[in-house]
Each structure stands twice: as structure tokens, then as C-alpha cells.
């Protein structure tokens, strides 16, 4: 077997103002040529760091990384550039950053070939071919600002593979896409890989990606904890004997902070040590909810249209969002989910129609009055979690509390989303998934009457997505908050009281 990627005992330690942080802690992984590997793992587990190191965009603090036999430690300067330019295709999770706002979709896709020196006819043909494959032929001359998030994601994918790389690295390539579009992207990735004999290493939280995977790899705490063909994943036992047990298993077993191993034939069993604190046995699954009865609409759209110069995002939409209910808005990319949430938040005004929130006709309120309404009654979790980047996680949460003149610290809310230990970290130094959770914590801490969330699980692994779903359900149940969120995540759709499909 010829290896496309060989990573052995890779460490990556970052220096931060708050101290050293280890993103990878002895990760080892081998990928055969032509193999399609999907990497799962919770946010902050080191997936993106692994991809960046394999793409020669970052260097490991220790350990060996070979790509197609090339030892990346020995690559310097031009050789590293040539290696990246020839062998690697990289799709960033921040896909929007890949798209130059001043170039059209076609030119963005062509640019890597132009930089390589390909003739205009060659690159035009290749860009056209790819854009056609992802269904964007008619959007080829559009600028990124005129494309929806899903369309931008596809353009970024085309730009990443336009030069037929031998190794495609993709970091959450479908994070913003609806299930159908995401599946199309996966299929495209698989087909292109097969056609070109390319190897694919794909980081995803989307279980749908397993459909194209030859092998699934689980990364935890900077190490590979499990791997195997889809549905046959096995725990990885490192040469040092290190094994990472899944949290669910531990929770069910009641093993707390200490365990006693016992050899039973060819298997090892673990039981709680006598002196150790036993963990409560609790299943990590969506809470059983008593779906509350609607007590009238908290928000209402009446024949709402919102048009932009590039086209209409919402056209003649009507609907009511019942108070004390958890309502999911779903629909394909570009269907207007974000626009509806912005209209409900008073962050945008309809071109036509009326938006009524908590009894207020928003178009009748000034911008300041709408801000005051948000301050008093609403919480908004925006897409891409644009928190105040120079504040810490705790300060971000407390800022929301201060604005409402509510007391207390943000620590409780952060602990509820599993970020208690990162409370003092500046949010711009957290992973995207962690930032998403800070945004959720900030919204939860405010105990709003209406919570609006845009793709709250977009960057989260399944476990965290489940936890978020649970939190949203709990806030509805305990605080009688009305929650409206957009999503295409089945986990969240599962907990919704109602689903509004904009498709």
C-alpha cells in the first residue's frame, strides 16, 4: 500500500497570551493513496490543525508528517510552495475568506490555474466544467456577495480542486449547506477523487459525509481515538497503551475519575475503582420534552418580502411563531432563512409586508426602539457567531447581561455549554465551534422572551449539536422562551416543536 499521508506522533503546541495550548498531542494517522477519509471530532479537538499541517500551511512542533513520501519537515521556502501548489487542494472551513470579493465566481475558480501559468482557454474550459458540475453555470459571472452561502461554498470547492490535486483536504466543506446540497458536494468530491485518483481527507460534523468515506477517523484531544470503515469504527490503541474511551460509554458505565482494568481472556474490562468518585449514570440523548401548548404567536410575518439588488431573499412570506415553542426554519441554501431571522430580530426591515414581534410592529419602530426591544426581550445568535472578538468568552456573555442591567457572571452559562474552562479566553482565539457555543451561552444567559438563532449547530459535532438542541429545548420549557432557529441539522430538527420549510 502506497501512503498518501503518514503522520506519526504529531504534536502542535501554540503559544498564547494565556499560556501554551496543545492542539495535537501525539496524533498518528496513515492514509492510503486514493482513500477517502472522513475525520470526526468535537470542536477544538485538533481536526483543523491536522489539516493545516498536512497542507504544509503549518508546521508540527514535533513528529513526522509525510505526504506522498515527502517529509514536510524538510520542506522550506520555494519547495514547500511548489509542493502545496502541485499536490494539495484545500477547502477552508472559512470558505468566504477564500473568495476575493472583487472577482467573479469564474475568475476565482480560474485563478489557481492562472497562477500556475495555464493558458486562458484551458483554464476557462476547466472552470466552466467544474462550475457546471456543481450547478453554478448560470452564476459563473456573479460576485461572491451575490451568491448564497451554499453557492460560495461550492465555488470555494471548485477553486480548491481545479488544478486536479493528488490530495484534497476539506475542512467542513458543507457546514452551511442543506442536506441535499451537501450530499451533492460529497458526491462531487468522491467522483472527482475517483476520476483523478486523488486522496481525500475531509473534516466534517455531518454524518452524511460517511456515505462517501472509505474510512472514518475520530479525533479527540489531539489524538486519533477511533477509526474504521463506516459503521465499523474501533478504538485506537496507541503503542503506549493509550486508549480514549467515548464519553457516552463512560457515562453509561458509571466510571468516574478512576477505573480498574481486568483481563478477561482476550478482552480487558474496566470497572470503577473503589475509592473513585462514581459518575452518575446518564444517557447523553435528547431530553424527552412535553411540548407546550401554544399561547398565541410571539412573532408573525404578514406577506413579507425582502428584496436585495441581487434578487429577492423572501417573497410574500406569511407565518406565525408561537410563543413558548421551539420553531425551526429550514430550507435549501439561499432560501432566505437568515433574512427571516434578521427581519424577526429587527436587524432588517421588509421591503413589503409587516413583521410583528412580541406585539410590536417592527416597521413602526425606529432603529433605536428596535435596539431597545432586542435589549429587553430578544437574543440573537447570528450565523458565523460574530461575537465581540477582543472580549473574552465571559466578558461577551456579561456584556449581554450588563446591557439588560441583569446581574451575575457569565460563568454559569458558559459551563452549561461546556466552556467553563475557556471562560477567560478571548473569543477570537477559540475554534469556530467554541465561538458558536459562546454565542449560545450569551443568548441563554440573557433569558430572553424570544431567542433567534441562525444555524446554531453549524460548526458543532453531533454531541455538541445534541447538547445545543437540549439547551434550546430547556430554555423553552423552563423559561417559556420562544425560540426560532434556522437549521438543516437533523439533530436540531428533531427537537423542534414546529418546522417551517422555506424550500
Amino acid at each position: 500500500m502506497t501512503l498518501a499521508v503518514e503522520a506519526r506522533d504529531v504534536f502542535r503546541v501554540y503559544e498564547t497570551r494565556e499560556g501554551k495550548a496543545a492542539a495535537l498531542q501525539g496524533l498518528s494517522l496513515e492514509i492510503a493513496e486514493g482513500e477517502i477519509v472522513v475525520v470526526f471530532g468535537p470542536s477544538g479537538s485538533g481536526k483543523t490543525t491536522l489539516l493545516r499541517i498536512i497542507a504544509a500551511l503549518d508546521a508540527p512542533s514535533a513528529g513526522l508528517v509525510r505526504v506522498h513520501g515527502v517529509d514536510l519537515r524538510r520542506l522550506r521556502g520555494r519547495a514547500r510552495d511548489r509542493f502545496r501548489a502541485g499536490a494539495i487542494g484545500y477547502v477552508d472551513q472559512h470558505y468566504s475568506r477564500l473568495l476575493a470579493p472583487e472577482l467573479t465566481a469564474r475568475r476565482i475558480v480560474e485563478l489557481p490555474l492562472a497562477l500556475r501559468g495555464d493558458a486562458p482557454t484551458v483554464r476557462r474550459a476547466r472552470a466552466g466544467e467544474l462550475l457546471e458540475r456543481v450547478g453554478l453555470t448560470d452564476r459563473a459571472d456573479s460576485y461572491p456577495a451575490e451568491l448564497s452561502g451554499g453557492e460560495q461554498q461550492r465555488v470555494a470547492l471548485c477553486a480548491a480542486i481545479v488544478h486536479r490535486p493528488k490530495l484534497l483536504l476539506a475542512d467542513e466543506p458543507t457546514g452551511e449547506l442543506d442536506a441535499a446540497t451537501a450530499q451533492g458536494v460529497y458526491t462531487l468530491v468522491r467522483d472527482l477523487a475517483r476520476e483523478q485518483g486523488a486522496t481525500v481527507l475531509l473534516v466534517s460534523h455531518d454524518i452524511g459525509s460517511a456515505a462517501i468515506a472509505d474510512r472514518m477517523v475520530q479525533v479527540r484531544d489531539g489524538r486519533v481515538s477511533a477509526e474504521g470503515a463506516p459503521g465499523e469504527e474501533a478504538l485506537v490503541v496507541a503503542s503506549t497503551g493509550w486508549v480514549r474511551l467515548p464519553e457516552e460509554l463512560l457515562a453509561h458505565s458509571g466510571i468516574g475519575s478512576r477505573a480498574r482494568p481486568e483481563l478477561a481472556g482476550s478482552s480487558i474490562s474496566l470497572s470503577p475503582a473503589k475509592a473513585a468518585r462514581r459518575a452518575p449514570v446518564e444517557a447523553q440523548q435528547p431530553r424527552e420534552r412535553s411540548r407546550g401548548r401554544a399561547s398565541g404567536p410571539a412573532a408573525e410575518l404578514r406577506s413579507v418580502s425582502r428584496r436585495f439588488p441581487a434578487g429577492a431573499a423572501v417573497e410574500g412570506l406569511s407565518g406565525a411563531f408561537q410563543a413558548g415553542r421551539l420553531t425551526a426554519i429550514t430550507g435549501p441554501s439561499g432560501s432566505g432563512k437568515t433574512t427571516v431571522l434578521h427581519l424577526l430580530a429587527g436587524l432588517d426591515l421588509p421591503t413589503e409586508g409587516e413583521v410583528i414581534v412580541l406585539g410590536h410592529l417592527l416597521s413602526g419602530l425606529s432603529r433605536s426602539e428596535r435596539a431597545a426591544l432586542r435589549r429587553r426581550e430578544l437574543a440573537v445568535i447570528a450565523q458565523d457567531a460574530p461575537l465581540v472578538p477582543f472580549l473574552s468568552a465571559r466578558e461577551n456573555v456579561e456584556l449581554g447581561l450588563q446591557l439588560r442591567a441583569a446581574g451575575g457572571t457569565g460563568l454559569g452559562a458558559l459551563t452549561s455549554v461546556g466552556l467553563g474552562e475557556l471562560a477567560e479566553q478571548r473569543v477570537d482565539r477559540l475554534s469556530m465551534g467554541e465561538q458558536q457555543r459562546v454565542a449560545i451561552a450569551r443568548a441563554l444567559a440573557a433569558e430572553p422572551a424570544l431567542l433567534l438563532a441562525d444555524e446554531p449547530s453549524a460548526r458543532l459535532d453531533e454531541a455538541n449539536a445534541v447538547a445545543v438542541g437540549d439547551l434550546l429545548a430547556r430554555i423553552v420549557d423552563e423559561l417559556e422562551t420562544t425560540v426560532v432557529f434556522s437549521t438543516h441539522d437533523p439533530v436540531l430538527l428533531e427537537v423542534a416543536d414546529e418546522v417551517v420549510d422555506l424550500g
Partner: protein, 1012 residues
């Protein structure tokens, strides 16, 4: 081909980036264009200022020195045509003006008159008629002449007739044309050089032919002034080859000084010009910081899209070049246009100034350096990387700061040298003049580096502040990038404004000081030596102007030092001058009152024998055994001047009429000398071709009691010869009524007897310049020679400088000085200068009232002319313009910083609004950030500007008029004005920012932040 495409691809990305953000690009380009325009204008301005400085410096020379002349000395008129052709063509080749021709003859004697004859081809503009009429051109049997500064008594020469009396017109180069004269000779001027030269009356006389070219200031530019000395030397050599009797005269030293002044004036433009360039570049940097984020994202994208490293670098460089180069070209064109306006306003040929500015090697380098610098600055601004060395981040800012600090140190080292050379020969070095630029840069870079550190101190207090203030401070503390750039730019810009303001105030204060230095009260009225021959006609001038006017004695003198004599000025001041004159504390360690007290003189005045007012003739009984001698009496007139009465006659007594001016005067001495004819003969014998034998007179003279004849009869004067002494200090060897003198006279050695004086046995107390103290030795007594007399002065105080004086000096009480000096040589120390207070514009009237030609120096006029001097005005206007431009740039910078904040933080602001921040609070957030940035910039700028001003004032001792400062510059930091100005400016700026900060939040709903 593929390679070409690889090169074109990143460049096309850069071009598209420019096209997508024309606003930011235009602003950045605007800054670079302004910097280039400032530099180009500076280059043209330097040429213009150089030319103006040269012509002004030459224009200030007395008319008889402001000329080039060729002279030829010989006898007869043979070969004159050739000489004339050579001299005229040589002078015309210098291209500085049209030559005038004159001839002056050596003294000759007509009857008993010893006279000098001279002629010019044209008297227009040279002579001012006092009586009679101007002469016609010499010709025929008679030649008409006019008497110069003398009465028009006829000459004892039948062919020469005197038609009138004239004096030299103000500013006419008369002395240079007809030659200097002594008081003993009468001078007559005719019209027609060749015509007079061919007359029999002057045949056989040595003559000096002069061809003179008054320097045409309009045609005299700096390069010409620089090359003139060489060309004059060449002309001198060529003419001497034609005839060794030729000589060329030119104010070479003054030309060199003018050239130095021009260089100083020209380079001084760097003080402001250099800062303007830096400030505009700072503006470009601030504008470029708007695209820093976009540039970083572009590099990220290109890297992700697998661009090679050189392609990423090419994109960055291409962007910078595409922005900078057109801006440099546009700026250059604008600068040339501005330069043309400046040249035109200064009255210099526009095309010539532009051509010279552009074709000099330095200009080419400067513009190329600016273009490269702009590109580098743009690249550095949009791509500032941090180099980690042992855990410490070294940014390009640190590197630049270190480089600038090194440059400041170097400027200091060069600066000291240059300051020395300045005091020596008036030069100012460019490194020194770039000091403010370097200080501004250093201030800016230190502000950029120090701002985040200072803000971190505010982090803890910020936690307790209100939400808006806390957020504003924390956003700056934790994300200081663009804010630090803004603070750096504001520091440089406000620093420039402060420097321009304070330096302008310093120069203006120095002009006031210089005017007070030139005229310590309101006016100084003194004899004008360029306006004719009036030595001996002067008198105490102060009484002419009333009781309050101060009579002052001013004479050139010499004092022996180790190996040579030091030239100095001797000043005699009345006691109350020390109470009334304007003074500056740094002139001397002691106060003015202490200085006045130290030289106070309580002895008596010049003693003598009073002549009765009704006296008509002075009669002196005398007997001579030996060679005949001339006896003259020195009389101090009632007007304070001195007259000499030539006592003539045969027999036992000599006599002289007492003119009305002399009546009532005081007889202060008698002089024995060669009789006039013997003196004339001896002089000719001494300068003849043969070796002259020694000429001397000796004998025994007995003097009796002098008498005065009055209309009422003869009256004996109360002379006590026993109290009289000789000029050597010995007694006369006679009785009370009779003196017996054994004499031995040569042409150079006369013999005087006079009454003893109170200053005979003691040195007079004086204030001296510091360098003279060393020459005085431990006794601190210094013999000072004034004309033919030596006066001992006792140095009781020292001063670094004294008003109206330059170089070494001795200042004494007027009465003491007059007594001591006039005792030795009557008339050598007359208070023929007056200092007086008075209303403005009295200059002409004061001149008219003077009994002899005077030059009136008005303090107000000096100050006005210093201010009106084009070089000074240019400096002042440039500094004022720099202040205004800096203020505008600060405002533009604040607006830019605000725009950058609003755009770059759009996502944060959107998030805050989604949290419930209303537009007013968001605007306040932006305003508070701007306020902090402005506050930091104001403090940094104030410190930077004041520091630059102090350093420049200390090291660049050049006045607004580009001359070495006398008195030296003293920093004038107008703290009150600065404080009020900066507070007012800050308030206006923050008001504008408050208005603009609301703009991004005016719409009905927030705009969604762009993804990139």
C-alpha cells in the same frame, strides 16, 4: 509564455483589487501625490529661495561694494582703446551688467590748492547737486568740473572751471569710481573720461581708470554667484596678461557669504518641506491602513489558492506600485505647477527655476527615493510582519524606530559640526535640518509602539467604566493595530504643526530681538560713510534730537592679542543708556544695571582752555630755531565736534581765524607737523621711482601765551603750560606762560602738546567681549588702539554680546572714553551717533535734521524689513502653511481612522446592535475611540513638536532670513497659544468626528457586514 502568465496573474489580481476599492486607493494616492507635490515644490522653492537669498544678500551691500570693477593704473593715454576694449569685453562676458567708466587722478597742485580730479562718462544717478549746475562734457579749451562735498571755489587752473558743488547720491558707487579721498584734498569731478584724461592739466599724472559694473540683482542667480569667483579670477589673469597694470576687484567674500546664505536659506526649507513630505506620507499610511485588512485577506486567499511566494510578493508590490507611481507622477506635476507659482511670485524666471530644480542630481535622487519610499511604505503598511527573536516580537515599526533614532544620533553628531561651521562661515548642514523630520518620525514610531503599552495600563480601570467607554478602551487595548497607526500619524502631524508654530514664534521673536539689537531704543542715527566726505565735520549728534536722545561714540579699534591685533568695536555710552536700552538676559551673566554701574565714570570731561564766544582770531606767539614747521590748534567746538585751526603767519606769532562754529569752543592742544608743501613734496618723493631719502624736520620751538583777538581787543588765554604734557606724556619743559619744545618731525611723526587730562594716569573701566578677557591678562587691562591713539581699558565686566555690536567689543562710559581718546587725538571720539526713542515713521525727518549725512536705523523698520524679507516671509509663510496643512491632515486622519473603524469593525458593530446597542451608543463607541486616539496624538504631537523645536532652535542658529542669528535664537514656546490652540482644535475635531460617527448608523436598519 507560461512564465508571463504566472507574472500577469497576480498583477491582474492587484489591478482588480484597486478597481474594487477606488476610494481607499484614491485617498492613499492622494497622500502620496501630496507628498510628491510637497517635495517637488520644495525642490523648486529651494532654487527660488537660493536665488532670492543671493540677490538679497548682494543687494544689502553698500553700492560701492556691490560691483565688479576693473582698474588700470598708469600714465598717459597711449593704448587706451585696446585697454578699454579688453576691460569692457571682459566685464560684459561675465553677464552681470553694463560697465560704467571713470578715471581718477592722483593729487595735484594748482596754486596753493592740493586737489584731485576725476571724471565719469555719465553723472546721471551718481551726483546730487548742492549748488550751481552740473558740468557739461569736457572739451575744447575749457573743462567744467563740480566740487565734491566742498565749496565751489574756483581752481587756479585757467582751463578748469567749477560750475557747482555736488554730493554723492544715496547708493551711488562714487568712491569706487573716483577713488577714496582724504579730508585734506578737494575733489573735482568732470564729465568725459577720455576728454579729461587728454587735458594738459593732468598730463604726467598717475591715473586710475575704472570700469565698474554694478551687480544686476535680477540677473544674479545662485549658480551664477557660485561660478562668478572663478570667472572673475580668469578675467583677472587674462587682463594682467594684456597689461600688468590691470586689476580686477569684486566682493568675492560677500559673494561667498551670499552663497552661504543662499545655501542656508535653501536647505532651511527642509525644516518644513521635509516634515510636509513625512506628514503627507503619514496620511498615505493612514489611508493605506484602510486596505491593510483587504491586503491580508488577499494574501491569505492567494496562499490557499496555491500562489507561489514570489507571486504573493509580486501582488503586494504590484498593488503598491500601481497605487504609488501614478500618484508620484500626478504629485510631481502638481508640485511643478506650485513651484512655477512660487517662482513667479518671487520674481524669478519660472522656466529656469523649474529646469534647474528638475535637472539637479539631488532632485532626481530625492524624487526617486520618494517614489521607492512610497512603495515601501505601502508594502510595509499593508504587510507588517512580526519577527520573533527569542520570544520577543520585532516589528518593522521597531526596526524603523531604531533606524530613525540612529539617524537622530547621527544628525546630532553632524549637527554639532554644522553648528560650529555655521558660526564660522554660515553654513547649515542638511542632516541638521532634517532633524525635525527625524524627531517627528521617531515620535510617530514610538507612539505606535508605546500606545498599546500605555493603553494596557488603562485596561483595569476600563473594567469599572461604563459599557461604552469600557468597550472603546478595551477594543483599543486588545486590538490596537490600526489605532496605533492612527496615533503615530497624528503624532507626526500634530508634531509638525506644533513645531511649525513654535519655530515660527521663535523666528518672529528673534526678529524682534534682532531689531532691538540693531536699535536698542527706537532709532540709531549715525554718520553714513557711503555718502561722501564729511570726516571732521561730525559733532555731537544727540542734541539735535533733544534732551532725551543719547549721544553714543562708536569707533573701530584694535587690541593686541597673542599673535595679532584683534579688531573690535569701541562703544561709548552715557550712563542712562543702561537704563533705557532693550536687553536680553542671555547677553551677559550680569544684569544691565550691574553692567552700567560697573563702568560708571565720575571723573571730569576733556579739559582745555575756553575760547571766548566773541573771539575772531587765535594768535600764538612763537619762535622757531630750525626747520620751518606747521602749528595747528585743536579746538573742541561747542557742538562737540573738533576743528583744527592752522596757525599761519610770519614773524613772532602765528594766527588763525576763528570761524563762527568754533567760537566758544575749547582749545585742547597744539600740533607741530610738516608744512603742507613740504608734506606734499615728501609724499611725492616717497612714491617716486627713485629711492627716497629720509625726510625730517628739527629745531627748537618756543611758545608764548596764546591770545584771542575780539572786536573789543586782544585777550590772553588762561593757558598754563606747566600743566601741559606732550603726546608721550612728558611735560613741556616750560613755565606757566611759556613752553620750550625741541622737535624732531618726520612725515609720519607729528608732535602734540595738550593740557593733562583726568584719564591720563588710569585705565577707564569697560565691559569687554569674552574673548578679549583672555588677552587682557590677570591685570585685565587692555590697550585699545582707536585710530592714532591708544586707550587703556580696565575690563570690569564681560558680555557675550552687546546691542548694535558684532565681533569683539569694548563698551565704556562715553565721557570716560571721549576724554581718554580725545586727549591723545582730538576728534577721534565724537558722539556722532544718537540713540533715541520716538514715534514710528520718523526716519526721514531724523535724517533731514542731521547736520551731516546720516544713516537712520529704525527698530520698527528693521523688524519690518526682516519680516518683509522674501526669505523670511517664505519661511514664515511656509511654517504657517505647514501648521494649517497639518491641522487639515489631522482632521482628515481622524475621519479616515473613523471610516476604518466603521468598516473593519462592521461585524462587531452589527453584533453589538444585535445585542441591543442603539445607534447613539454605537456612535458614542466610535467617537470615544477617536477621542482616545486624538488625545494620544495630541500629547504625542505636543511632545514631539516641542522637542523638535527646541533641538532645531538649539542647533540651527539661522534666522528667518537665513543669516547667522545675532542675537542667537532663543526658543519661544508659546505654551498658552499652544494649549488654547490644541484644545480648540481638539474640540472642533471631536465635534466633526461626533457628526461623522453617526453616519454609519443613520439607515433604518444596519447593513449586513460583508463577508470579506
Amino acid at each position: 509564455m507560461a512564465m508571463t502568465r504566472r507574472v500577469v496573474a497576480p498583477l491582474s489580481v492587484a489591478a482588480r483589487r484597486i478597481a474594487a476599492r477606488p476610494g481607499s486607493v484614491l485617498l492613499t494616492g492622494f497622500g502620496i501625490a501630496l507628498a510628491t507635490a510637497a517635495l517637488t515644490t520644495l525642490l523648486v522653492g529651494q532654487v527660488v529661495v537660493e536665488d532670492r537669498a543671493v540677490s538679497d544678500a548682494i543687494g544689502r551691500l553698500p553700492a560701492d561694494e556691490r560691483m565688479l570693477s576693473v582698474s588700470w593704473v598708469g600714465i598717459g593715454t597711449t593704448g587706451w582703446t585696446r585697454l578699454d576694449r579688453e576691460a569692457q569685453s571682459g566685464l560684459r562676458a561675465l553677464d552681470v551688467g553694463e560697465p560704467l567708466r571713470a578715471v581718477g587722478f592722483r593729487s595735484t597742485r594748482f596754486g596753493t590748492d592740493i586737489v584731485r580730479l576725476a571724471a565719469v562718462d555719465d553723472v546721471t544717478g551718481l551726483l546730487e547737486l548742492r549748488s550751481g549746475r552740473l558740468p557739461t562734457t569736457c572739451g575744447g579749451e575749457r573743462c567744467e568740473l563740480v566740487a565734491l562735498d566742498a565749496d565751489s571755489q574756483p581752481l587756479a587752473a585757467p582751463g578748469l572751471s567749477v560750475t557747482g558743488s555736488v554730493t554723492g547720491t544715496t547708493g551711488a558707487p562714487l568712491a569706487a569710481l573716483v577713488g577714496s579721498t582724504t579730508t585734506a584734498e578737494r575733489v573735482f569731478v568732470g564729465v568725459g573720461v577720455e576728454e579729461l584724461a587728454r587735458r594738459p592739466e593732468v598730463s604726467g599724472l598717475f591715473r586710475t581708470l575704472t570700469w565698474a559694473v554694478p551687480l544686476n540683482l535680477a540677473a544674479l542667480d545662485s549658480p551664477k554667484a557660485a561660478e562668478l569667483p572663478t570667472r572673475i579670477a580668469e578675467l583677472d589673469t587674462r587682463l594682467r596678461q594684456v597689461d600688468p597694470a590691470f586689476a580686477v576687484h569684486a566682493p568675492l567674500h560677500d559673494l561667498a557669504e551670499a552663497r552661504d546664505r543662499a545655501t542656508s536659506a535653501s536647505r532651511r526649507q527642509l525644516l518644513v518641506g521635509g516634515q510636509c513630505v513625512v506628514v503627507f506620507l503619514a496620511f498615505a499610511v493612514l489611508a493605506a491602513s484602510r486596505i491593510r485588512r483587504n491586503a491580508g485577506e488577499t494574501r491569505f486567499r492567494l496562499r490557499r489558492l496555491r500562489a507561489l511566494r514570489w507571486q504573493i510578493a509580486l501582488e503586494t508590490a504590484g498593488y503598491a506600485v500601481l497605487v504609488a507611481l501614478p500618484a508620484v507622477l500626478v504629485g510631481c506635476a502638481a508640485g511643478l505647477l506650485a513651484g512655477a507659482v512660487v517662482a513667479d511670485a518671487a520674481g524669478r524666471p519660472t522656466g529656469d527655476a523649474l529646469r534647474r530644480a528638475l535637472t539637479s542630481a539631488g532632485s532626481g535622487w530625492a524624487l526617486a527615493l520618494l517614489a521607492v519610499g512610497a512603495v515601501v511604505v505601502l508594502i510595509a503598511t499593508t504587510r507588517a510582519a512580526t519577527l520573533e527573536i527569542r520570544g520577543r516580537g520585532i516589528t518593522p515599526v521597531d526596526v524603523a524606530a531604531a533606524a530613525v533614532l540612529a539617524a537622530i544620533v547621527a544628525a546630532f553628531l553632524f549637527g554639532e559640526t554644522d553648528a560650529e561651521s555655521l558660526s564660522r562661515d554660515g553654513e547649515v548642514g542638511a542632516p541638521l535640518l532634517l532633524l525635525p523630520v527625524l524627531v517627528a518620525l521617531a515620535g510617530a514610531l514610538l507612539a505606535a509602539r508605546g500606545f498599546p503599552a500605555v493603553l494596557r495600563l488603562a485596561e483595569r480601570p476600563a473594567a469599572a467604566a461604563g459599557v461604552s467607554l469600557r468597550l472603546a478602551l478595551l477594543s483599543l487595548v486588545r486590538n490596537p493595530g490600526v489605532a496605533a497607526v492612527a496615533v503615530a500619524c497624528l503624532t507626526a502631524t500634530i508634531g509638525m504643526a506644533v513645531f511649525a508654530l513654535t519655530y515660527r514664534a521663535t523666528l518672529a521673536a528673534n526678529q524682534r530681538d534682532a531689531a532691538s539689537y540693531a536699535a536698542p531704543l527706537d532709532y540709531v542715527v549715525a554718520p553714513d560713510p557711503t555718502r561722501g566726505r564729511f570726516a571732521g565735520r561730525t559733532a555731537d549728534l544727540a542734541p539735535t534730537y533733544g534732551r532725551r536722545a543719547l549721544g553714543v561714540i562708536r569707533r573701530d579699534g584694535e587690541a593686541p592679542t597673542l599673535n595679532r591685533s584683534a579688531e573690535l568695536t569701541v562703544l561709548g555710552l552715557p550712563a542712562d543708556a543702561f537704563e533705557r536700552m532693550r536687553w536680553r538676559g542671555d547677553y551677559a551673566s550680569s544684569s544691565l544695571e550691574e553692567l552700567g554701574e560697573s563702568v560708571a565714570y565720575r571723573g571730569g570731561g576733556l579739559r582745555g582752555v575756553a575760547l571766548p564766544v566773541e573771539g575772531r582770531e587765535l594768535v600764538l606767539p612763537r619762535t622757531v630755531r630750525g626747520d620751518p614747521i606747521r602749528i595747528s590748534a585743536q579746538v573742541r567746538r561747542p557742538d562737540g565736534g573738533f576743528s583744527v585751526l592752522d596757525l599761519t603767519g610770519e614773524g613772532d606769532a602765528v594766527s588763525a581765524p576763528i570761524s563762527p562754529a568754533v567760537r566758544g569752543g575749547t582749545l585742547v592742544g597744539l600740533t607741530l607737523a610738516f608744512p603742507p608743501i613740504a608734506e606734499f613734496t615728501a609724499a611725492h618723493r616717497a612714491t617716486g621711482s627713485r629711492a627716497a631719502p629720509d625726510v625730517f624736520l628739527r629745531g627748537l620751538l618756543t611758545l608764548g601765551q596764546p591770545r584771542v583777538r575780539t572786536p573789543g581787543g586782544s585777550r590772553a588765554l588762561a593757558v598754563d603750560y606747566s600743566d601741559w604734557v606732550s603726546s608721550e606724556g612728558a611735560g613741556t619743559g616750560g613755565s606757566r606762560a611759556q613752553a620750550r619744545i625741541r622737535y624732531f618731525l618726520t612725515q609720519e611723526r607729528t608732535f602734540r602738546i595738550r593740557p593733562s587730562q583726568p584719564t591720563d594716569d588710569e585705565a577707564i573701566p569697560a565691559i569687554a567681549s569674552e574673548s578679549l578677557v583672555a588677552s587682557a591678562g590677570s591685570a585685565r587691562v587692555l590697550p585699545v588702539r582707536i585710530g592714532r591713539v591708544s586707550v587703556d581699558v580696565r575690563i570690569v565686566e564681560t558680555a557675550r554680546r552687546f546691542p548694535t555690536l558684532s565681533g569683539d567689543f569694548v563698551v565704556a562710559d562715553r565721557e570716560a572714553l571721549a576724554t581718554a581718546a580725545n586727549a591723545g587725538a582730538p576728534g577721534v571720539a565724537v558722539a556722532d551717533e544718537a540713540w533715541l526713542s520716538g514715534r514710528p515713521d520718523a526716519e526721514a525727518e531724523l535724517g533731514r535734521r542731521a547736520p551731516f549725512p546720516v544713516r537712520v536705523t529704525s527698530r520698527a523698520e528693521v523688524e519690518r524689513s526682516l519680516r518683509a524679507d522674501p526669505v523670511s516671509r517664505a519661511a514664515s509663510l511656509a511654517l504657517l502653511a505647514a501648521t494649517i496643512v497639518a491641522g487639515l491632515i489631522v482632521l482628515a486622519g481622524l475621519v479616515l481612522a473613523l471610516a476604518v473603524d466603521a468598516r473593519d469593525d462592521a461585524a462587531d458593530l452589527f453584533d453589538l446592535e444585535s445585542l441591543g446597542f442603539d445607534p447613539a451608543r454605537l456612535a458614542r463607541h466610535l467617537w470615544l475611540r477617536s477621542a482616545v486616539i486624538l488625545g494620544a496624538g495630541l500629547i504625542g504631537g505636543l511632545v514631539t513638536g516641542a522637542l523638535a523645536s527646541l533641538l532645531v532652535t538649539d542647533l540651527v542658529a539661522v534666522t528667518a532670513n537665513a543669516t547667522p542669528a545675532e542675537p542667537p535664537l532663543v526658543p519661544a514656546l508659546p505654551w498658552g497659544l499652544l494649549a488654547v490652540g490644541l484644545i480648540a482644535f481638539g474640540a472642533v475635531a471631536l465635534g466633526i468626528v461626533a457628526l461623522l460617527a453617526r453616519r454609519p448608523f443613520r439607515g433604518p436598519a444596519p447593513a449586513r457586514p460583508e463577508a470579506a
